[in-house]
């Protein structure tokens, strides 16, 4: 099973992972500054690129696979303030192929929660390629991985995605034709 199939549902993680999830959740609650969201795809650019000091990007333009719609202006800051933790979207901790704790954290009880190396936040594209792989149908493409992360909240709860096909445009997407018109103006 691909890691993506398990990304959204922490309950499926094994006992060891559950501990890791619990620790990281605790760490988040106590309030270490969330790591930088690394670019999520080739060409997806952070508007205010954060250095590895603890500042996260305010906005990210998700445009690497834009085809039907114009690139999405993703407001990272507002998502940080609304999400219960980084793992809501960055699913490293819920992933079936998590890195070892020491890859990102210092194994030191005192420093553990503040020791996240921001560069270790993996980009979605590192596992989810933009091209569909017929030989690995269980692994969501980059497009599916993006959308599933969004649909965790933006399906029924926030916005009309899931009840109205127009929800996609209302929530995030601007059709290409409309985007061009707006540019001309």
């Amino acid at each position: 099973m691909s890691r993506a199939g398990s990304k959204l549902y922490l309950k499926e993680a094994g006992p060891v992972k559950k501990v890791i999830v619990a620790i990281s959740a605790l760490a988040l609650l106590i309030g270490f500054s969330p790591p930088t969201g690394a670019g999520s795809g080739p060409g997806d650019t952070a508007k205010s690129a954060a250095p590895a000091g603890g500042k996260m990007p305010q906005g990210i333009v998700l445009g690497s696979i834009a085809k039907t719609y114009a690139p999405v202006d993703f407001n990272h800051a507002s998502h940080v303030s609304n999400a219960s933790g980084c793992a809501d979207c960055h699913h490293q901790h819920g992933s079936g192929q998590s890195l070892a704790c020491g890859e990102c954290h210092a194994i030191d009880a005192a420093a553990f929660k503040k020791s996240v190396r921001l560069s270790k936040i993996k980009a979605c594209r590192e596992c989810h390629s933009a091209a569909y792989s017929v030989d690995d149908p269980g692994r969501p493409t980059l497009k599916a991985a993006y959308h599933r992360a969004c649909f965790k909240c933006h399906r029924g709860d926030v916005g009309t995605v899931g009840t109205d096909p127009k929800g996609c445009v209302e929530m995030c997407h601007v059709p290409n034709a409309q985007a061009k018109l707006e540019k001309k103006k």
Binding site: M1, S6, Y132, H147, P165, G167
Partner: protein, 323 residues
Amino acid sequence: MADTTIKGPPGGDGINGGDILKDEGNGKNKGTVSRRDLLKGMAAVGGVALIGSSTEVFAERTLSGWPDRRGMLTDLTECVGCRTCEKACNEANRLPAPEVPFDEKSVFEQKRRPTAYAYTVVNRYENPKSSSQPFYRKVQCNHCNEPGCASACPVKAYTKTPEGPVLYNADVCFGCRYCMVACPFAAPAYDYESALEPRIVKCTMCHGRVSKGGIPACAEACPAGAITFGKRSDLVQVARNKIRKNPDRYLNRIYGEYEVGGTSWMYISGIPFEQMDFPSNLPQKPLVEQAKGFLSSVPLVLTIWPALLTMCYAATRNKEDNE
């Protein structure tokens, strides 16, 4: 014919049991075929023709020789009803633009089925646990492993390809629409607009795109990754893994794994399939099996019965003539 070889015993003017008993030993001693032997043979051949036990002759064709055949898996829990797949299908098959736009939700007010102008449609079903997260079911041809449409078609307009898709050839179709009756999934649609050139239309699993190395348009377009394409055997494993890892999210069933002998297009769901109008009364054996006994007896009945009856007639006629 049979004046010398078939000798009717005196007094035997019928073929009822009483006459047969009277025949005992009568014909055998004369070195000819007795009426009894004839009747025995007739009964045996006629019985075979009647009950169709010749199905053994038409041994069931298994598909194990096509291990690489492709399939599709729709994860109904992931579908958000955006209708992007409908739009992609429309564009890939160069169909006319629909009367109601693809971003219109009013189409969900009634249950739709595939038509000549929409090879796939998405229907909405209530979610008993959350009204804001209804379920959606994508409907299209399921590309059965042993398709009922192909077995019903009198002119062999359907072909089950080794790659998985069930394809249709409009050139030989004469518009009988037996396939529409035979399909348990209501997949084939009839083009009622062209009466002179009858045409059945249905999903081809984008055979053209796939043979060029692509994937079906709906699978490529789906933003949620709800539609996946790959080796059927791989997809069964993907589905099993999903169910095993998320028992709260999925029912422990892959629809299409065994239904009517297995379909290329399979589904996993969070609510019972019956609640999404999936046919629930389908046998696990291919539909062809249901009709095979009868259908295979038809040629026998048509060829052997006239001969038998003629022989019967000749046998009795012979006696009458003698009298």
